[in-house]
């Protein structure tokens, strides 16, 4: 950087002052105009909404609106999110600005070394080859920034405001610092419920991930066997289960296990008392049903996945193994399993996360219960269900955001640690 500032010539300075100017001086018209357009675009953005949005982020509004009299005031929440967006736009602008300087400096060095400025055609070709990843990753990263990172940042910020309860637009929201966290820590009922649910949540995530993963893998192996004819046909059954949307499946199973449902119909017909599989006393039976139903929903997709991955296993290795006299089990143990585990550890982790945050299952199967000994939660609720009770149902967005921030920190540290130490992360090159 220092070297750049020392050695850069007039054209670089021009680009430092106005983006794209240096490139234009090198007669790189297309690129210069593009940088210039970004420069102009950012200024237009600032003039129209950007500056207002950035300031709004700090004030969160000053005029309360009153729709009764048609007074349009400030919407604090919109100001918060647009403020975050303005910050993201500004960061992107700075990145482009830096790349603009680096680019023109690189050209300077090329010319100094006796070359000529690159042609636009050459740069395009580069984008399809050496810098292929930049071309490709640009759109996904932009999308993820706006639709995934922005909401997450928004939510983290909400944890430091008083948004929620009676304070929702048109009322004005304010920054409150760590107030919400203090409130949560001061609440005596909070900690016991939190740890009870956290324990069950981990148990659930581990069990359901294991069941779904090995279930899907065994199913895929079963269907991959040489002796199975009509694979497309047999595989269609799990696909059928996969094809029915999860919430319909859950409603169906809830009904199946309800007092008036078919299972109890046969139980009572046999002269026994109806069983409350999912009612308020049914702690473990409800949990087990949850695991099974989740398996029914998720195994087909992990089967599909395992099938796709198995198709990539090198057949030659199996042939070699067979020649060495390895049995089916040994082949599985020494070839298939390591291979599949290697290529699916990331999947395992994302499945674990998915199950950890599996909102639907107990919401649909056993919603609307508060069990004794739990603070506004039931004994099958996962943290995410509890969060929902606290924040969306009860309207306490800021508190909910604060709690999810705490949960998030705990869970992400754990899963990050697992991921970083997994073979898929450390030895990416094993099979290359």
């Amino acid at each position: 950087m220092r070297e750049l500032i020392k050695r850069a010539d007039g054209r670089v300075t021009a680009s430092m002052l106005v983006m794209g100017l240096g490139q234009l001086l090198y007669r790189q018209w297309a690129k210069g105009i593009m940088y210039l357009a970004v420069q102009a675009g950012y200024i237009i953005y600032l003039v129209t909404v950007g500056a207002r949005d950035l300031f709004g982020f700090f004030t969160l509004g000053s005029v309360e609106s009153n729709p009764w009299y048609g007074i349009e005031g400030d919407n604090s929440v919109i100001m918060l999110i647009m403020g975050v967006l303005a910050i993201i736009v500004t960061v992107l602008y700075i990145l482009v600005y830096i790349s603009n300087i680096k680019d023109v400096y690189a050209t300077q060095k090329r010319v100094e070394a006796g070359g000529r400025p690159k042609l636009f055609r050459e740069e395009l070709a580069e984008l399809l080859d050496a810098k292929f990843y930049r071309t490709v990753l640009f759109v996904p990263i932009l999308g993820v920034c706006v639709f995934n990172i922005l909401p997450v940042v928004f939510m983290i910020l909400v944890a430091f405001t008083n948004y929620g309860g009676d304070i929702v637009p048109p009322a004005l929201v304010d920054w409150v610092g760590f107030e919400n966290f203090k409130k949560i820590l001061a609440l005596g009922e909070f900690a016991p419920t939190f740890f009870k649910i956290l324990g069950w949540n981990f148990l659930w995530a581990i069990l359901s991930t294991a069941i779904n993963y090995f279930g899907g893998l065994s199913l895929a192996l079963l269907l991959n066997k040489k002796c199975v004819r009509g694979k497309v046909f047999w595989r269609a059954f799990p696909i059928l289960a996969y094809a029915i949307p999860g919430f319909i499946t859950l409603l169906g199973f809830k009904f199946m296990f309800s007092y008036g449902g078919p299972i109890n119909h046969y139980i009572t017909e046999a002269g026994r008392q109806a069983v409350g599989f999912l009612d308020l006393d049914a702690k473990w039976s409800a949990r087990v049903i949850g695991l099974l139903v989740n398996a029914w929903i998720s195994i087909p997709s992990s089967m599909l996945l395992a099938t796709g991955i198995l198709s990539n296993a090198e057949q030659s290795q199996y042939e070699a193994a067979r020649l060495d006299g390895a049995g089916a089990f040994q082949q599985f143990r020494h070839l298939t399993l390591p291979f599949v585990v290697f290529s699916t550890t990331p999947v395992l982790i994302s499945q674990f996360i998915g199950n950890f945050n599996n909102f639907g299952i107990f919401y649909f199967l056993r919603g609307g219960l508060y069990i004794d000994g739990y603070f506004l939660a039931s004994d099958t609720d996962l943290l995410i269900n509890w969060l929902y009770n606290l924040s969306i149902d009860n309207n306490y967005y800021a508190i909910g955001a604060a709690i999810s921030l705490i949960i998030f920190i705990i869970t992400s540290v754990i899963s990050l640690a697992v991921y970083v130490s997994s073979p898929a992360y450390r030895q990416e090159e094993t099979y290359k």
Binding site: L222, V232, P262
Partner: protein, 281 residues
């Protein structure tokens, strides 16, 4: 000859066990679906006029109602909406996911590991907490009650699930790339000509999942689509009255149809893509 007999017997036993297991699996997965199918042919709207798993009377009334009685519940329209949203999201989402995974697997650049960790962590966030933010954003972009708004969100979210595909690309030997690059192919060509055909099973898997997600999602369309003529099947079905169970069942059956068709069309690609063959060439 004598020696081979036990082997054959063992093989027959193995086949028998395999088929028994297959039958069991088929039953476990098919039975609840069958129940739903039977329910859709029930002559009474209510699910409680069933005897156990079987309706007390059968008719095709609910299918007729589903498709022709559209004054209140315009199922064909919702179906069309869902199909449009899911198809578009599937095309864009698959493209982005595969490309992202390919880059993360094949290129080594500075922020790569950081990106991988970030995406992992992003998934840990409780999604509904972000829903408020997504809703607010969409109001600002004027994308409420607009199918393209949904497609945008699904497409943007799809690459986050690139891990599976990356794992797959990681297991394709690098020697294949090397050979092609020696022949003077650019990275873009390597991807199009070599990896694409090889990763057909993964592309099929990605296409299926990125079709299914928007197809069966309930929460986002419920949040973003306001008027009934814009609704998707999932939102529409959930709005059915409580005495409309057989119509609900019929609608649920038809929801599954496009995914099954998609699977049948793509099934043969799911198990092709032979890496071993490619290396030998």
């Amino acid at each position: 000859m004598k020696k081979r007999k036990p082997v054959r017997l063992g093989r027959t036993a193995d086949t028998a066990v395999t088929y028994a297991l297959l039958l069991l699996v088929a039953f476990v997965f098919f039975f609840p679906c069958l129940w739903l199918i039977l329910a859709s042919f029930s002559s009474s709207g209510s699910i409680y006029s069933f005897r156990g798993f079987f309706p007390s009377g059968y008719s095709t009334e609910s299918f007729k109602k589903l498709f022709f009685d559209t004054a209140m519940y315009d199922y064909p329209k919702w179906f069309g909406n869902s199909l449009f949203i899911a198809t578009m999201s599937c095309i864009f989402g698959t493209l982005l996911t595969i490309l992202t995974a390919y880059c993360m697997s094949r290129f080594r650049f500075r922020s790569r590991k950081a990106l991988m960790k970030t995406t992992l962590v992003l998934g840990m966030f409780p999604s509904f907490m972000g829903m408020t933010a997504v809703y607010l954003l969409m109001t600002q972009f004027n994308f409420i009650n607009n199918h393209w708004g949904l497609i945008l969100i699904y497409t943007a979210g799809a690459p986050l699930g690139y891990m599976v595909q990356k794992g797959f690309f990681d297991s394709i030997p690098g020697s294949i790339d090397e050979a092609a690059r020696l022949d003077g192919a650019t990275n873009f060509q390597v991807f199009c000509k070599i990896h694409m055909p090889l990763s057909m099973p993964m592309i099929v898997y990605t296409a299926l999942t990125s079709f299914t997600w928007p197809w069966s999602d309930y929460i986002l369309p419920k949040l973003l689509l306001k008027t009934k003529d814009k609704w998707t099947v999932a939102v529409g079905l959930m709005s059915l009255g409580e005495t409309e169970f057989s119509r609900f069942a019929a609608g649920s059956i038809f929801i599954a149809v496009p995914i099954v068709i998609l699977y049948l069309c793509l099934a043969k690609h799911l198990i092709s893509g032979n890496v071993a063959g490619a290396v030998k060439e």
